[in-house]
């Protein structure tokens, strides 16, 4: 788990590769200007994610965000117009990381169904280790803002495109109605969002077999989808079998 997810105070040592940079040293330093700017922006984005999780969108204030990020109000306004702008950017950032992660995970497998399984596994792991990212990715359930909701729809379109590729690689793919991927992605993100909202982030990985099963069923049929989801397809085993 990300250290200090509940504690917006001074961040301790972070796991390697974690996106939140350490705070800048106090007082005078010789760090290059660009480094400082990027550091502050990243801390704002991750701080916004954490503050969002703690407060919910409606109750979230810029005061919360800057306290969590450990930057000044001036720095906030140098980066963003307002709360909506900041959350919008944080959401986009989280989604870019998710998509990059999915692409990497897919590259480790050769067959499309296994790529989906790897992508789901990596996505859930990301959401489990970084609750802030989980909240942003499933923002639909948290947002109290129409514009943010629109941004979510746009980002989801990215995942829709990725999944749609399966139409070329699966027996039933070519038969699917046009809106199938939209429905699948929308449905799954909402279910994940409900878990996150209930404070159950950190336990998302256990949903992997079921999610893979749900995602693959339209393309492979119920039985074959279940076999892949349970790791009974002769390739890498999934961590746990549904039921």
């Amino acid at each position: 788990l990300t250290a200090g997810a509940e504690n917006p105070g001074p961040p301790g040592p972070r796991p390697a590769g974690a996106p939140e940079p350490p705070p800048l040293p106090r007082g005078r330093h010789r760090l290059p200007f660009e480094f400082v700017v990027e550091n502050q922006r990243r801390r704002l984005l991750t701080g916004a994610a954490r503050a969002l999780g703690e407060q919910g969108y409606a109750a979230l204030t810029i005061k919360h965000i800057i306290a969590t990020a450990g930057v000044s109000r001036t720095t906030f306004y140098a980066n963003f117009d307002d709360k909506r702008d900041c959350i919008f950017a944080a959401h986009r950032d989280a989604f870019e990381r998710l998509v990059a992660l999915i692409m990497r995970a897919c590259a480790t497998e050769r067959e499309w169904p296994q790529k989906v399984r790897a992508a789901v596994s990596a996505s859930l792991a990301l959401m489990d280790t970084e609750p802030g990212v989980a909240r942003l990715i499933t923002l639909n359930a948290l947002a109290s803002d129409t514009m943010i909701a629109r941004g979510v729809v746009d980002s989801n379109a990215h995942l829709v495109t990725l999944l749609r590729d399966g139409r070329r690689h699966t027996p039933f793919g070519p038969l699917l109605p046009d809106l199938a991927e939209e429905g699948l992605i929308g449905g799954l993100l909402t279910i994940l969002g409900a878990r996150v909202l209930a404070g159950e982030e950190g336990t998302l990985a256990e949903l992997e077999p079921e999610i893979v099963w749900l995602l693959l069923t339209p393309y492979l049929g119920l039985e074959e989808a279940r076999r892949v989801a349970r790791g009974e397809d002769g390739t890498a085993a999934a961590p746990a079998a549904p039921r």
Binding site: S144, P177, L179, I191, T217, P218
Partner: protein
Amino acid sequence: MSLSPADPASPPEPPPPGPFTILPTPAPTSLFDGAPDARDRFPREVLDRNHRNRILGGAVAAVAVHGYPDTSVASILAAAGVSRHTFYAQFPDKEACLLAAYDRGLAWLEQEVSAALLGAGDWAGQVRAATVRALSLLASDPALARLLATEILCLGPPGRARRRQLVDRLGLLLGLGRAAAPGSHEPPPTLERALAHGAIAVLDREVAAGRGERLAQLVPDLAEFLLAPYLGHAQARRVAAARPAPRNR
């Protein structure tokens, strides 16, 4: 006006009254026979209900234009054509007003959809009939569609609770398909919730893209999406397109 009885695209019965119908009150007989006297001559309940419906309809319209967070009571008043005093006589605040509008709008939709289920045949036929009815009603009122699909989530915990209730109810109808599914393949336990949420996500996208009036065009695809996990693709497509099953030899 399409009066040709042979046109299958236009159902013979008139569209049902909307969720926020204003009951007619007799027109004033003279220029000065206006609102003040109406209080004496019409039952209090009728006037109250008309006010309430006017406000609810105005609230739905205002939210469709501004989005819930940027909707003010003033914009509801402007859309409804009532005074601030009238508004606050009916609702304590904007949130209560929109929750009431949602509840009324959804109750109306559910009533109409339930009526469409009668005579729709087996489970698959009912899912299709429900899809047809719901989409055509929502297409006739895109502002209401936007409140039901998207804006309700902006109302915080009570809004999310309503979404959960809706998904649970949709899930109940869909879940009956488990018995209709051929073979012994039990679908994933969360299938119904995923399908219900997925269908709402699709509506949300369509309404957001300004295609609310064309929701009815989604009927075959959406019905197929909902039916396929249970029935398989061929059968789901046949039912969704309302084609008769191939005759068994």
